[in-house]
Symmetry: C2
Subunit: 196 residues, 2 copies
């Protein structure tokens, strides 16, 4: 009965990944030892590594899931929803990403694996930007790629401030200023306050 | 002759800090052992720790120097110059900052020391924002504090993408979109392209 088996496998994968996320967030990447992963996930190392052969695999899969979720939010609900989702990310988990920046810089194999998986979302994200330009959500006098990198810049800045428990600008302010930067040009004449 | 002694002390401090910065950038914070610090700085541990009693002191002082430099650039040359300065920061050194985010989150003493020193620049930075609002560089319908946190957000996003060797949006594009977001409202009617 492959159907049930697949369902069970999916459940088990979810259990492993969510436990691993909690463990990384609490102890950091280096501090998430096999013993701690076993305890947090509630499975033996044999069971865990049957699904994910290494800690690196666990991390890459978690990063990809975050990307997938942000991409889904963006595609179905738009930029304001993504900004709100980033602001609500767990700061402790975000700081695990930051811990791994040196590794990403210094280990081309690790970097390559993450980039390879991130590419999965690029076409749909790009299509959504083009749609936003057509329907007047975004200005259309800037290339979609450039709009995308600027939005990423702002989201990364939010994530970084969130990871450091720094004071965040209000979400409404960020959305209002982002709209002034990348919203449709036809609304330029109106003072931004009335558009919030 | 305290004059010469002071000069020598300043030179020595600079030598230690620049060597420590190179050492952190190359080996990461944890990897910057005392032996490696001695080698990179060219002084014995006794001489180094005579100026900075701990590795943490070295890092805090380097972070404060970066802040001081950015503050100086911003005050004397304005926002465009700061954006260019951030884009030119050493990615390897930036990733050391990121490594320490977990520590900053989890160690209130460490966090407190950094925040205490960062406060030194706040009044001058705030005064510069108010001046930029008066002279028409920035819009004046948003509180200086909110403008500051948004600009920080964008600078943090740039620093994060730079640390990860990610593709950066062109500096001109960032400056143009930032100007659309926080530039003076009176220019809203003109299409942004012509204002670059």
């Amino acid at each position: 009965m492959p159907k049930i088996s697949d369902e069970r496998r999916t459940e088990r994968r979810d259990q492993i990944l969510e436990g691993a996320r909690r463990c990384f967030a609490e102890h950091g990447y280096e501090g998430a030892t096999v013993v701690r992963l076993e305890r947090e996930i509630g499975l033996s190392r044999g069971a865990i590594f049957n699904y994910f052969p290494s800690k690196e695999d666990l991390f890459v899969e978690l990063a990809v899931r975050d990307n997938a979720r942000m991409s889904e939010v963006w595609i179905s609900d738009g930029l304001a929803a993504v900004v709100r989702a980033v602001v609500e990310l767990d700061p402790a988990w975000l700081s695990v990403y930051l811990e791994l920046f040196r590794r990403v810089r210094n280990d081309p194999g690790f970097r390559g694996r993450i980039e390879e998986r991130q590419k999965e979302f690029a076409p749909a994200n790009r299509a959504r930007i083009e749609e936003a330009q057509r329907n007047g959500e975004f200005r259309d006098d800037i290339a979609p790629k450039d709009l995308g990198t600027f939005v990423n810049l702002v989201l990364n800045g939010l994530a970084l401030q969130r990871a450091g428990d720094d004071e965040l600008p209000s979400t409404e302010l960020v959305l209002s200023l982002l709209d002034d930067a990348i919203g449709p040009r036809v609304r330029r004449g109106t003072p931004s306050r009335t558009r919030a």
